[in-house]
Assembly symmetry: D2
Amino acid sequence: MFELPQKVLFKHCDPAGIVFYPRYFEMMNDCVEAWFDARLGWPFETIHGAGGVPTAAIATKFAAPSRHGDQLVLHLKVIKLGRTSLTYEMTATCDGAMRFVTEATLVYVGNSGRPTPWPAPIRAKIEAEQAL
Amino acid sequence: MFELPQKVLFKHCDPAGIVFYPRYFEMMNDCVEAWFDARLGWPFETIHGAGGVPTAAIATKFAAPSRHGDQLVLHLKVIKLGRTSLTYEMTATCDGAMRFVTEATLVYVGNSGRPTPWPAPIRAKIEAEQAL
Amino acid sequence: MFELPQKVLFKHCDPAGIVFYPRYFEMMNDCVEAWFDARLGWPFETIHGAGGVPTAAIATKFAAPSRHGDQLVLHLKVIKLGRTSLTYEMTATCDGAMRFVTEATLVYVGNSGRPTPWPAPIRAKIEAEQAL
Amino acid sequence: MFELPQKVLFKHCDPAGIVFYPRYFEMMNDCVEAWFDARLGWPFETIHGAGGVPTAAIATKFAAPSRHGDQLVLHLKVIKLGRTSLTYEMTATCDGAMRFVTEATLVYVGNSGRPTPWPAPIRAKIEAEQAL
């Protein structure tokens, strides 16, 4: 499983002193971006220009609020690999306590903006991730 | 049904020239905030300080990308009213074409941060909204 | 002078319940984008693709904090027009009281990413704005 | 001098593929927050609740655009310490090349929201930072 530490910063928090939930989606995107870079060796800055990996669907349950200063860890696990898509589960925990659980599907699109099969070497790396 | 127009602005868009999906969640929050103000007469700036309406769960399907300059309309409809919660469906369309569909549940919390029954006059207004 | 109303929304505010200052810069960008559209007839979605108007310098003094629910008005005035640049002053007020004063310079760049003279019809419109 | 590395991520970039300048102000705020934590031992999550350090003025020159994937380093140096305020200079570089230079003044405010003298132990640490 891939992990990304993320301290809750001032910019993430709302007037109630807890994470404003759209900011969680930025954290999730950062985690996916870090995973593509660290595990697939295919950073977003390389993918973009020639294509992209837009999110087609995302569903999140927020289990408990996160406060300014909390040391979160985001965990990403691929749960399904399609011909042109992948589905991941992501959780965020703080000292082992759950903060959110997300399931999301993203799609690889080429220059055309249309769903495109994963390049073979990338597909092999995603499969290796699933086998972990 | 409540509607909020939202032009896609420069700030919403990513290097692919389409809306960065965490920005959609800001738009959704703006729409919920505008609905509380316009339809319930209970603006967020009044609720906060004494409580809040955090989002407990949210699930979104993105049907098609939105581009810079697109004239979106967000549509909000309450689909379920609980003792301390409400569930809404929100869609965004552009010239009638679907861009996203969201279903989300938010919870009313009082000073304590714990789920709290809706105040009776607010509950009555939400029921009136459902009856529309 | 060009004016854009902007209510302070939940998303703009920090744990102190006042506008998080990077959010002010988003408001400023929205105001410049609205001015290009409304007054120059040259919306950002048309400019981009073939060029852009990046900000080269910006200086802001924050006179007083803005709170959630405040009804701000942003005011934009061109104070200098260069061959490839323009300098504007922007203020934000709430019920006439000053919240911030900004002076910023943006540069027109073409496809090349290099400073490019304003197209003549746009230049004429900017001059008309200055004469108001 | 205090340094904070910051890779340019997807979320920072606009349709032109370069950093959207309000995102730079978030990076600056992150750098100030990290400096308070690492060098003053006074993290924002401790300061807030009992006060804050709002920005009173900020002026930035953008020397060159930053692209997705760029490895920036932010550098913070205190250049003036007042009774209730401090002024810092911050630069961002990429492989030694300048991207922006900022000068900003922030003010310590107590519970009242009014400028308040720095606590003596904090003042001593800021002076030690200046002496570096």
